[in-house]
Symmetry: C2
Subunit: 162 residues, 2 copies
């Protein structure tokens, strides 16, 4: 199993919002939706904002533990589920045994992932032609397509050199 796919991410310009903005946005939306505010949940939101793209529950746990916040795993999973239900984060399943999550920036550019099969690093990209092809295709199926996901696999530049 490849090492932890850290935020190596050649992140594309990520919409108009920064991660600090997203933290506020997420907390506000949850409160609007009638949810109580709590320290553990806020900590999870903040961790997501800081860790960025393609984070696992375990990574959030370690991050929080490292900075001294004590949040039970159950609460992490429950927060992630709530955030997902409220369209504030997306699940990015890249096909390792574990699910990754990432902040969904409000008007932010929608991106996809490149996964290095050798070292496990995950990086992001966006591509208009690809989006266009998917949009057209979606119009032609009888499915009511609400989301899509593209994963490219291969070898990252630094692994190619070895």
């Amino acid at each position: 199993m490849p090492a932890r796919p850290e935020a190596w991410l050649s992140s594309p310009a990520v919409g108009a919002t920064t991660s600090a903005d997203w933290t506020r946005h997420a907390l506000d939306r949850l409160s609007e939706a009638g949810h109580r505010s709590s320290a553990p949940r806020a900590a999870v939101v903040e961790a997501l904002a800081e860790l960025g793209c393609g984070v696992t529950a375990r990574e959030i746990d370690e991050h929080l533990r490292g900075r001294g916040s004590r949040v039970g795993v159950a609460s992490i999973y429950r927060s992630l589920e709530l955030l997902t239900r409220n369209r504030l984060v997306t699940r990015v399943d890249v096909g390792e045994g574990t699910v990754r999550y990432e902040p969904l920036h409000p008007g932010g550019g929608h991106h996809h992932h490149l996964v290095c099969d050798t070292c496990g690093k995950v990086s992001a990209f966006e591509d208009d032609a690809l989006e266009r092809a998917i949009r057209q295709l979606s119009g032609r199926t009888e499915f009511e397509v609400s989301a899509h996901d593209v994963t490219l696999r291969g070898e990252c530049p630094s692994c190619q050199r070895h």
Copy 2:
């Protein structure tokens, strides 16, 4: 958890080979690669051929159990791993907690998946414009792209009617 995504599949014309051909092909290739032939492994291959696209290890297990073959789960997983390593099946991770596998037909048209978020059904499609966009995009990254995976999510026609 949605019901088992059975072979609902609006299967596109799947290359030139039938599932019977694939069974032979797979067994031949394994033997060429120096692997011994064994009944349990052959049973897994045959199950894959019969069940078709997007099958889980558990489904293979049930299928085999149903027809009286006694193959341990460990052997099923080991066979799947071997077949994957030899490019005879692909893993299709659609983002439920479990991995799906499907036969890789030799010259067969490469396809992607539509997943119904309501009932869990998985169907297949192929689209040239999409492939083209991905090919061009792949040429532009520093990644050495060797594979790609596209998943569309939404609601299937029959769920839309309810």
